[in-house]
Amino acid sequence: MLDYDFMRNAFAAAMVVAIVSGIVGYFLVLRGQTFAGHALAHVGFTGATGAVLIGIAPLWGMVAATMVAGIGMGIMGERLAQRDVAIGLVLALALGLGLLFLHFYTAFAAQAATLLFGNVLAVDVGTIRALLGLGVVSLALLAVISRPLLFASLQPEVAEAKGVSPRLYSVLFLAIVALATAECAQIVGVLLVFALMVGPAAAAQRLTGAVATGVLLSALLALAEAWLGITLAYYTDWPCSFWITALSAIVYLLTVLPRPTAAGISRSATCRGRST
């Protein structure tokens, strides 16, 4: 399977994206902002189709659109949190605009499915380089701000009292999420970023209460799901994105279900199931 260039490219791209998504996703889940990741991906669709319309690579249109939207959402902050109608309408509008852009650029119509559902097998070496660059930038940024970000996420009032601005870190973090979302959409498409951004991170948080272990586990789960998904796609000829979403859902389900093993373990697992 690794004799083919496109397969090697797919594994390389998936590795970069899964690690970035798993790590950024951990903080996204911890902060309870998973919906923001979903919203950013939709806005990315508008950016990608708009970029194609004016002759730029869709990845960069997506990065630009998600960055603007992410920073905007961060600045709006809590005022946005309760406005699910407004967010929903913006999501719909973003997809609608994307459709309009595709309508003007009819020759590109086949690309719509790729943007929405991803096609990791079509990734070329140039894209991998771009993904790697973006990934390094977003992870480096996250590493620099991770301590105050964690403080502001877990104890916003105390953080504010100690001089850490929850608003500032919300903006910086959503900018990082924007980069990660744009990356993630290259592999699984804008509609399915949940599979790599949220699934592995949520599963990791159910498996461990320690932050460092959780971040590592989240990245490893995302990587395993992405690689296994591509492998299964190769042997079944079903879409990669299907397999990745299926694996993501299965892994999360396994962490939620009570484990029917020794009595003590099963009791604590039942407790865990109830507490959510």
Binding site: P148, L154, V158, Q205, A210
Partner: protein, 280 residues
């Protein structure tokens, strides 16, 4: 030097004037019970001392210095508004976020950080909370953990906002005892806000009663009187003392204990833990 000084302070939140020209001095090492009706400004006062609110007028000094954001000498335990974020996290990593949390970098607690976390957990008698997920600890244990959080970095002034909220009377007593023990051990100055005076009676040195844009600071006997409280509530108040307990009554009902409770039909001390609303 005093722990906290307010001179002619006026504070407005939005258009509402919460304090209008108040002044008070709290000495080092005092344990102050902060009381008042919902919206009287208990949280507002604490946020102002933390330097988080602009003053319309006047000045606030903490340990002789002008109140500013990021004062490391103050430990703050905010009022719980909802479930804690990160319910799967263990207590140790929850606290680790606070140690040097204002500095950039990776959130890895070094040796000094781990020792600091052990120290504050020992102070609150909560070593066992280190390895348990937040979602699985009880209300009383959660207050222990949050108190431990407030003790990180050895602050000299503790602002504790409603630590008794949503606890049953037995756990309320435990928390007050714990705070008192910690205060004595660290010789810290404590502002402890609450809805009811009675659980605090054995622990506090003085009472700070808020209401009507004004404050009254003094011993229980000086402040908990019909004339002072009538002025603060802007209504006719009676003070009834019964077997070592004090009831603040207005028109025949207890204004302190029932502020949160009569709307859900709970009797005294039998109110369910849910249904309590955070106050301003």
């Amino acid at each position: 030097m005093n722990a906290i000084d307010l001179r002619d302070v006026s504070i407005a939140v939005g258009d509402r004037v919460v304090f209008d020209g108040i002044g008070l001095s709290i000495a080092l090492g005092e344990f102050i019970g902060v009381l008042g009706a919902n919206g009287a400004g208990k949280t507002t006062l604490m946020r102002a001392i933390l330097g988080l609110l602009p003053l319309r007028r006047g000045e606030i000094r903490v340990l002789g210095r002008k109140a500013t954001r990021g004062n490391a000498a103050i430990g703050y335990m905010p009022q719980i508004r909802s479930a804690l974020p990160g319910p799967r996290l263990n207590g140790r990593d929850y606290l680790a976020g606070v140690v040097d949390g204002h500095r950039l970098g990776l959130p890895m607690a070094g040796k000094a950080g781990r020792m600091e976390i052990d120290r504050v957990l020992d102070l609150v008698g909560g070593r066992d909370l280190a390895n348990r997920p937040l979602a699985e600890i009880s209300g009383g244990e959660r207050q222990r953990l949050l108190l431990a959080q407030a003790l990180i970095g050895r602050p000299r002034v503790l602002l504790l906002d409603e630590p008794l909220i949503s606890l049953d009377p037995r756990h309320q007593g435990d928390v007050v005892e714990l705070v008192k023990a910690v205060q004595v051990e660290l010789s810290a100055t404590v502002l402890f806000s609450a809805h009811e005076l009675n659980p605090l009676l054995g622990a506090i040195d003085r009472v700070l009663y808020l209401g009507n844009g004004d404050v009254a600071l003094g011993t229980v006997d000086e402040v908990i009187t019909a004339p002072v409280l009538s002025r603060l509530y802007g209504a006719e108040i009676e003070v009834v003392r019964l077997r070592g307990r004090i009831f603040v009554m207005s028109g025949g009902s207890d204004v302190e204990c029932c502020a949160h409770r009569h709307d859900i039909g709970g009797g005294y001390h039998t109110a369910p833990r849910r249904g309590e609303t955070p106050n301003a």
